[in-house]
């Protein structure tokens, strides 16, 4: 049965479709789409855009580059910082019709620990996603591509909250399974992958990088084969649940993620092409139950 309720982190989610961090701003969407958004909220749990201790403006424009089957972004984690997140956004997120997963990132273990600690007992929050793998900030992807550093960071945070921790892994590794195992052994309750692949685009007017941040992160259908390979390899290695994402744009893609071993499926870039992508993908996934006799 595809598309049914999922038990995870002691909660029951209505279905397995969630958003990828940073690909759906529920607060902006509610302003744009009004109350229909609540009635048709497309995700079983909502993952916030990654926040950091201090506010960040993000990278200078241009931040986007289109590919034939995806895009490269150099957003650079713009966010209002922890204090204003707690004051302004957390109450608003709490009113969403889906449990909240807060994505956090830090430029040091202490920074990350401070953020997790400050939020660690908030009842609005179901779980934390630890973004160990953002290619758009200097040190973003380094921690996550080392099993040792991923383990060290996870252990450090494990002591700061009772809430479930999801380690968002780096895709920049020949052994994502080892990174996932390191996170599991250090106390992570789930892993999510893949984050965007580091990539670059050249200014067509000649020379130099196009993106304001120099490089960026590639996402969308172009990265789906990489995501499937890593998700299936990781899911074989760990016992904890896997949140699989990368290029999912239809029900069939979601099914392939689930078949590869994911417990939840994240939808990212497809949200940009279709604001209700989550809803559509879930519907398509459920329709596949009818045709699931086809499966070997």
């Amino acid at each position: 049965m595809y598309g049914g309720p999922v038990k995870i982190f002691g909660a029951e989610l209505a279905h397995p479709v969630v958003n990828g961090s940073g690909t759906f701003d529920a607060l902006a969407a509610r302003r744009v789409f009004g109350e229909q958004l609540d009635a048709r909220f497309p995700f079983a749990a909502y993952v916030s855009k990654t926040i950091t201790l201090e506010p960040r403006p993000g990278n200078p424009p241009p931040r986007l580059w289109e590919l034939g089957q995806g895009m490269i972004n150099s957003i650079g984690l713009p966010n209002k910082g922890l204090a204003r997140f707690i004051e302004e956004d957390l109450p608003a997120y709490a009113m969403l019709p889906a449990p909240l997963i807060v994505s956090v990132m830090g430029f040091s273990g202490d920074e990350l620990a401070a953020a997790v600690e400050a939020l660690g007992e908030r009842s609005e929050i179901l779980a934390f996603e630890l973004n160990f793998s953002c290619p758009n900030v200097e040190t973003g992807n380094i921690v996550g591509s080392s099993p040792e550093e991923t383990a060290a960071m996870t252990s450090l945070l494990r002591g700061r909250t009772e809430k479930p921790l999801i380690a968002k892994l780096s895709p920049s590794s020949a052994r994502p399974d080892q990174i996932a195992l390191a996170a599991e052994q250090a106390g992570a309750n789930a892993v999510s992958l893949i984050n965007t692949l580091p990539g670059m685009a050249v200014d067509p007017s000649g020379g130099g990088p196009w993106l304001g941040g120099g490089g960026g992160g590639m996402s969308g259908p172009a990265v789906r084969p990489v995501a499937l390979a890593q998700v299936s390899r990781v899911a074989e290695a760990v016992e904890i649940p896997v949140i699989g994402m990368g290029g999912v744009s239809c029900g069939r893609d979601a099914r392939e993620m689930l078949d590869a071993g994911a417990t939840l499926v994240g939808v990212g870039t497809e949200n940009f092409r279709d604001p209700a992508a989550g809803e559509r993908i879930l519907a398509e996934l459920r329709e596949l139950n009818q045709s699931s006799v086809e499966r070997k």
């Binding site: 940073g22 690909t23 759906f24 701003d25 902006a28 969407a29 302003r31 744009v32 789409f33 009004g34 229909q36 958004l37 048709r40 855009k49 403006p57 993000g58 200078p60 424009p61 241009p62 931040r63 986007l64 289109e66 590919l67 034939g68 089957q69 995806g70 895009m71 972004n73 957003i75 713009p78 196009w210 304001g212 969308g220 870039t269 949200n271 940009f272 092409r273 279709d274 604001p275 209700a276 809803e279 559509r280």
Partner: protein, 276 residues
């Protein structure tokens, strides 16, 4: 700037092409929106074709494309939206190649739209395809409010200037090649207009260099202006944080905080990567 009071239907929806006309490099694309609310002048939609979106030399387009509506009319079955576009890349080329009856997928209306100040005479300035939201604003001022406006339009050449007569908008014209109206930039017309028009508000849309000239001029003359900017957009509804432009208050997402920004919020209207 106040937030848009118009909320968009959630998701994207099917909109059949009712007609498509080409004139010189421009395309007038009319689509039936059976489900959307009446948009506000300056708002925009994200468009893609239901089939064959992709397949350019490098596989693009992949993301939907932002287009302002130029005209909206109540018709049988919904709203007829007129888009006005020039083919400058794979997305606009695909849209310009649509056939009547073909299915578009649209989302919107998005963005704030112009914030019409009814206490000051409106001066509308357009460059190239930037004419789209200016036609919409002019329609609103004249047809809806029954008021008057001054419209100034800059076009690259006579072919383009001839094409836009289809809109039937009364306007002053400037062409870069001098083949119609004033020979030069539309900002020369604006300069003349503002000589005795200190009490007006300027509403402008066009290429970055034009907008920047308008902004500088208005700032110098202390005339308030509202500029409809462009930037690369992935989503159009605030999800991706990709469309930011620098303002005096920091980066603003053009899709939700714009596309119309007051001139005094900008240090420059030229943003790397925006426009052509």
């Amino acid at each position: 700037m106040t937030q848009a009071c118009v909320t968009a239907p959630f998701g994207r929806r099917s909109a059949p092409v009712r007609s498509i006309e080409r004139s010189g490099p421009y395309t007038f694309l009319r689509a039936l929106d059976a489900a959307g609310p009446k948009p506000r002048a300056g708002q925009f939609y994200m468009l893609q074709t239901a089939r064959g979106w992709g397949g350019g030399d490098d596989g693009r387009p992949y993301l939907p494309r932002a287009l302002s509506f130029a005209r909206v009319e109540q018709v049988n079955g919904g709203l007829e939206l007129t888009y006005f576009l020039e083919s400058v890349g794979p997305g606009t080329a695909r849209l310009a190649a649509c056939a009547t009856g073909e299915e578009l997928l649209i989302a919107g209306p998005f963005g704030n739209g112009f914030d019409l100040d009814r206490t000051r005479p409106p001066v509308l300035v357009a460059g190239g395809v930037g004419l789209a939201p200016i036609v919409a604003l002019d329609d609103k001022i004249r047809k809806t409010d029954g008021a008057r406006s001054t419209v100034l339009v800059g076009m690259r050449d006579g072919e383009r200037a001839a094409a836009i007569t289809k809109f039937g908008v009364e306007c002053g014209i400037a062409t870069e090649d001098g083949s119609a109206g004033h020979a030069g930039y539309v900002t020369a017309l604006l300069e003349r207009e503002l000589e005795d028009g200190h009490d007006s508000t300027v509403y402008a849309c066009g290429p970055p260099a034009m907008l920047e000239a308008v902004r500088a001029l208005c700032s110098e003359r202390e005339v308030p202006c509202q500029l409809a900017l462009e930037s690369g957009m992935a989503c159009g509804y605030g999800a991706c944080y990709g469309c930011v432009v620098p303002t005096v208050d920091g980066y603003a997402r053009l899709c939700v905080d714009g596309p119309v920004l007051p001139g005094d919020k900008l240090e420059t209207a030229i943003v790397k990567g925006a426009g052509h």
